[in-house]
Subunit: 223 residues, 2 copies
């Protein structure tokens, strides 16, 4: 079996990606990042999801991004928006996907893995710049100049299988693969038990996605 590193936040999207990578026959090493995120309970969700979907290993790397701040997820003085707004929302975390993919790249190289999976999507997303196809292509290109593995003829493929799916499409595929979405936490201000606010962008997209997919929404919403 080929090793793959799968970025696993504990949310709906990355859980689906892990299920897809396992179904594709990869020995999946799940990587979560504790960056001081407001919705810290997503990390407990990641542990549950990794175990339930058969990841070979799950690691949590600590890197405190609250020192930089600049996001509602890493600076408690910035409130999580509870209404949709134009432009890139305050929940955008500067360079988050780049940092996470860099860590995945490091682990992949040590594992001799040539495949990294990330659950970004460019359709039902929140306008984050680092979820766009051009960004994913540019990261892969950079990664293939960065490592000894690539220089020695073992290039890396960055898989973003959700890139062109709607949230409903993601949920349909994950449900077919047996993902238990009750284990996942999407809410940007989930409480310690993982209960969702029902108001933030992430809750809205999730709720609409289950409705559009015709799949029963197992989320425990506080409102």
């Amino acid at each position: 079996m080929k090793n793959a590193v799968v970025l696993l936040s504990g949310g709906l999207d990355s859980a689906t990606v892990l299920a897809m990578a396992v179904a594709d026959g990869y020995a999946c090493r799940a990587l979560s990042v504790d960056y001081g995120q407001r919705h810290h309970s997503e990390l407990a969700a990641a542990r549950r999801v990794a175990g339930s979907l058969g990841a070979v290993e799950h690691r949590v790397v600590n890197i405190d991004l609250t020192g930089f701040g600049g996001s509602a997820l890493t600076d408690n003085s910035i409130a999580v928006p509870e209404q949709a707004s134009a432009g890139i929302p305050l929940t955008y975390v500067p360079a988050r996907n780049t940092i996470m993919l860099s860590l995945a790249l490091a682990w992949a190289e040590v594992l001799h893995a040539q495949d990294i999976f990330i659950g970004v999507n460019a359709v039902d997303y929140s306008g984050y710049p680092d979820c766009r196809p051009a960004y994913i292509e540019a990261f892969e290109r950079m990664a293939n100049l960065a490592t000894q593995a690539a220089v020695e003829g073992h290039p890396l493929t960055l898989h973003a299988p959700l890139l062109h799916l709607s949230k409903a499409g993601i949920i349909s595929q994950g449900a077919a693969l047996g993902v238990d979405y009750a284990m996942t936490v999407s809410c940007y201000q989930a409480d310690e038990a993982g209960r969702a606010c029902g108001l933030c962008d992430s809750c809205r997209l999730r709720r609409e996605g289950f409705a559009a997919a015709g799949v029963s929404d197992p989320t425990c919403y506080r409102t």
Copy 2:
């Protein structure tokens, strides 16, 4: 004054880069990364250098890469080579520059800084893939797709002013700018006091560089 983020390891190269960026009129925010490196005393050197060269601020971000290992610098069971060898040496740390640049990118975005400086060079280097011009270009291109700042018309420039300099050329320029190289630590197995082994690749390049530049070498070598 324009803000810039300057990656500062505490070694000779990055100290020179900081001096160059200060001389260019940037308000420099120096960023060091405690990644569990064997030569931990380089972080104390970074503090001294940042203070001495007039960085506006110096931050150390912790991210433990010893969990991944895969390098003589992050795995104590792999010895630091003490003789020159062909190919990429064991001191290569998987994805290190990509991780550090990602962190610099995050801080730059929060600061509204459009300039990042890194002290890589492609001439007198150790064969690390993430020190090559094509890698630097690819990172900059990726970064300019990654951030809200870039999307909103504030692109980032990744400066690598040492890229095409020899070690002697770097030392000559730094000496002219008043860098006190006695403060810096290059050795991969420097002791707690920052004293150098005199045997590793980094010591060899440094020693040869001072000799070629005709600058007195202030390094305290143990051998």
